[in-house]
């Protein structure tokens, strides 16, 4: 088993041969070595103004950080781009089909791309390692002794996650040529947004910051709370070492990406997730998301922890909404797929496609996703409300450290969160039902028309409200009513603005529109699906024109 996975893996072999040819590798090594040497020299240059005649501690830390940044660029961004680009090119060119029909297992194909495609970047990464030696030998920056092993250990699962993610995009996206660029944008974006809760567990920057802070506290002997504060993160308010929590996130979500990629490597036309696995993914993702966002953060202005309740509620509602919509988009079958499913079951003497089959209309799946969204959002806002109302009594029970809470009481109310929850449920229902209806009713134009519908109901109101707010410039902003039309803005509107100041019509509008439109499309999509199921088998359509299947 391990033999075909790692040692005699043909795709790994292919990449080693293709990407490690001397003529192509040597120039890259020279460039990387020169850059690394430059940064190394920067840290130890004798004319850099340090008190000992060498570079100062801060300069040395900067030099080390730049070198580390180069390593991250090679390992994460360029490596992941290669994974996505390589598999996408093989898929487009038809070479992947050869591997699909060989006795190779899909997992072996996936491992081949995960380890093989970034092989040159891994070699270049290895070339930068000797330039870390001066920093280690000299013991500068001071935190290196503790931090380096932690950092390098943290890089492995992070690379695993991003490579699996890139592999999934490479086997999923319809236009593979741009997939490497997209992967670069996503990874770059994630690292730029590393301060956002949850997102920070997928970037190495936050780990590095945590490590530096911890080492600084350790060396300056300002232990106790500081030490724990810098090394600990919180999962459902339970303190867990930051690095470990990040590794857990990366491994779990990386494994889901790998599973989905494996399915696509087996069959080009398969959905990345089967419906039960999609629901499992949603549950796991929701648990991770809620666990992380319900998280006390250190106040910048006092030696105390505080909760950003509005931020938590927004992350909870938007995060679960977005992941639910992505899963609905992935698992909603096109009309032609449903017809295939109907023909298949008819051939077997049945009349209805099993509801968990990939080719069944998404009705039950939509209900399940909507129910899970409602459940996890409700859990999220219940915990937030619990913390909000009992912050003083709870603090001593759950946190092992001396916590002083911010004295300012938040104005967020349970009613606001509940209204937001209703909007999220309506929006999820609308999205899944409208997508299935458009696919069933309008055939190949369905996706385009659904996109148009989303634009009209979810994007355009925000743009109009923006323009109206500029044009009217009055205290009674009519744009608020328009914003309520789109769930993308109405959730924020309901949570951020105090309910007392909102016109009563706004919550009504915000909830009624997605719910009514959602129920309308739900009934219509069920009707269309039923029509299709009852429709007798017609004469086969004309064969494809010459030259095409």
């Amino acid at each position: 088993m391990s033999n075909s996975l790692f040692i005699d893996n043909p795709i790994l072999l292919k990449h080693i041969r293709a990407r490690l040819r001397k003529a192509q590798l040597v120039p890259f090594i020279v460039v990387v070595a020169l850059l690394s040497a430059l940064f190394c020299w920067m840290g130890f240059a004798p004319l850099n103004g340090g008190s000992s005649g060498y570079a100062s501690e801060s300069t040395r830390t900067t030099a080390f950080s730049i070198l580390f940044g180069l390593q991250c660029l090679l390992l994460f961004v360029l490596g992941a781009c290669q994974v996505a680009g390589s598999v996408a090119t093989a898929r487009e060119g038809g070479q992947l089909d050869f591997h699909r029909i060989s006795p190779q297992r899909p997992l072996a194909i996936a491992v081949g791309y995960l380890l093989g495609a970034p092989i040159r970047e891994l070699v270049l990464f290895a070339c930068t390692l000797p330039f870390m030696l001066p920093f280690i030998i000299m013991g500068n920056p001071f935190w290196l002794g503790f931090g380096l092993p932690v950092l390098f250990l943290a890089m492995l699962p992070a690379a695993f996650f991003w490579y699996c993610f890139a592999l999934l995009l490479g086997v999923m996206l319809p236009k593979p040529r741009n997939v490497a660029v997209l992967v670069a944008i996503v990874i770059g974006g994630a690292h730029l947004l590393y301060t956002i809760p949850f997102m920070q567990h997928f970037t190495i920057i936050a780990t590095m910051q945590s490590t530096i802070s911890f080492s600084y506290s350790y060396h300056t002997a300002s232990m106790d709370n500081d030490l724990l504060r810098n090394i600990m993160s919180f999962f459902f308010t339970i303190p867990i070492p930051y690095v470990i929590l990040g590794v857990i996130h990366q491994l779990i979500l990386g494994a889901f990406c790998l599973y989905a990629a494996k399915r696509k490597l087996t069959n080009e036309l398969a959905y990345p997730f089967s419906r039960p696995v999609a629901l499992l993914f949603f549950t796991v993702f929701a648990a991770l998301l809620l666990g992380v966002i319900i998280n006390p953060t250190m106040s910048r202005y006092s030696d105390s922890y505080s909760y950003d309740y509005s931020g938590m509620a927004l992350f909870c509602l938007y995060g679960l909404l977005v992941i639910g919509l992505i899963l609905l988009a992935i698992c909603t079958p096109a009309r032609s797929e449903i017809i295939k499913g109907i023909r298949h079951v008819r051939k077997l003497g049945r009349h209805i496609i099993p509801v968990w089959d990939d080719r069944a209309p998404n009705t039950i799946f939509l209900i399940s996703i909507t129910a899970l969204t409602a459940l996890f959002c409700a859990i999220g806002i219940a915990i937030i409300d619990f913390l909000l109302n009992r912050e003083n009594s709870i603090s001593q029970q759950i946190l092992p450290i001396n916590v002083i809470y911010a004295t300012v009481r938040h104005s967020l109310k349970f009613e606001q969160m509940a209204l937001g929850l209703l909007v999220v449920i309506g929006a999820t229902l609308f999205f899944g039902a409208a997508l299935q209806y458009c696919q069933l009713k309008f055939r190949k134009q369905g996706a385009t028309l659904f996109g148009m519908l989303l634009f009209l109901l979810w994007i355009l109101p925000i743009l109009i409200a923006f323009v109206v707010s500029i044009v009217t410039n009055s205290s009674s902003n009519p744009g608020a009513y328009i914003l309520a039309i789109s769930p993308l803005s109405s959730i924020t509107e309901l949570l951020i603005d105090a309910t007392d100041y909102l016109h009563p019509a706004i919550p009504v509008l915000a909830i009624a529109i997605p719910w009514l439109s959602g129920l309308f499309f739900f009934i219509m999509s069920m009707h269309e699906a039923r029509k299709l199921t009852l429709q007798p088998e017609s004469a086969p359509p004309a064969a494809a024109p010459a030259g095409k299947p």
């Binding site: 043909p10 072999l13 293709a18 070479q95 050869f98 591997h99 069959n267 009309r335 032609s336």
Partner: protein, 308 residues
């Protein structure tokens, strides 16, 4: 060896292959014939598991491709109608990748690869990057890749497209040798002359349906209930014309000086008796030939029926 039952494949809402059933016994070279868009490539891609059928079963060497995919594909060599090579590898490296994919024993791998490189006459190109090969060479390399794991079933989709005459002869000889080795070959093409010389069985597809399938002579016999003969003589042909006209099995008699062509409804024994009768009557027969129907004849005959 190969068993296809009630196969249906849909692309979107277009039915590319409908209710297709056929068998190919071991050791046959089966020609899948049909015009562009008949469903040949779709059928082959479904057979190797690259397309999921709407319904139907495909059994290769006893293994159902849907339920025992890994075992089924282990017996297949598939060559598509284009050559998706890894252009950053050499000829040898490319074959080595697939030797590894098909789990050839490492000890014999190099020898086997070299054997197939020699077989497709790419010996001098062994260390050339595949990007630098001509189209015909790429096709030959694909053929070597297909044959390398010594599969029991070989599926070739338009293998001769892009091949020069020499390479076509090479392909023909290789396929004949594969048949002699007991391999089963399915070869799809719309160029009938490609298949005529070595196919032992044929299946003719039209608009996603299998119109007819079986051994060439059986299909021919099914299509043509009467057989055409041609005779050439020396000397006076009138006597011959009288004798032929008098035979009840002869019809559609045509004469061009001392050459005759006619349709004969009798079997081989009756044909031999007719020849004996001519020779006994002192007619100097220099040619008595049964005109074997070609794949073109069969295909055109079926095409005419389908259109009608």
């Amino acid at each position: 060896m190969i068993e296809v039952r009630d196969l249906r494949v849909d692309y979107d809402e277009v039915c590319a292959v409908q209710d297709l059933s056929f068998d190919v016994p071991q050791g046959e070279i089966y020609g899948l014939i049909g015009p562009n868009g008949a469903g040949k490539t779709t059928t082959l891609r479904a057979m190797v598991g690259l397309l999921e059928p709407t319904y139907g079963t495909i059994r290769l060497n006893g293994f159902d491709i849907a339920t025992h995919r890994e075992q089924a594909v282990a017996h297949i060599g598939f060559m598509p109608d284009f050559s998706p090579l890894y252009e950053e590898l050499t000829v040898y490296e490319f074959l080595d990748i697939f030797a590894s994919a098909y789990k050839l024993p490492p000890a014999t791998r190099a020898t086997e690869i070299q054997r197939y490189i020699d077989l497709v006459e790419l010996t001098e190109k062994r260390d050339t990057m595949t990007a630098g090969l001509s189209r015909g060479m790429k096709q030959r390399l694909m053929l070597a890749k297909t044959l390398l794991p010594s599969p029991a079933i070989i599926l070739l989709d338009e293998p001769a497209s892009g091949l020069d005459p020499h390479s076509r002869i090479l392909l023909k000889n290789i396929l004949k040798q594969q048949r002699a080795d007991g391999k089963t070959v399915i070869i799809s093409s719309h160029i009938l002359s490609e298949l005529a010389e070595f196919c032992t069985s044929i299946g003719i597809m039209e608009r996603g349906h299998m119109v007819t399938s079986g051994r060439v002579e059986d299909v021919g016999a099914r299509i043509f209930s009467e057989i055409r003969y041609s005779i050439e003589l020396l000397g006076d042909a009138d006597k011959c014309a009288e004798l032929l006209a008098a035979d009840t099995g002869v019809s559609k008699l045509e004469r061009l000086e001392n050459r005759f062509t006619f349709t004969f409804s009798g079997d081989d024994t009756a044909a031999a008796a007719l020849l004996t009768q001519l020779v006994t009557a002192d007619i100097q027969v220099i040619k008595f030939v049964r005109e074997i129907e070609t794949l073109e004849d069969i295909f055109m005959q079926i095409g005419a029926r389908e259109v009608a």
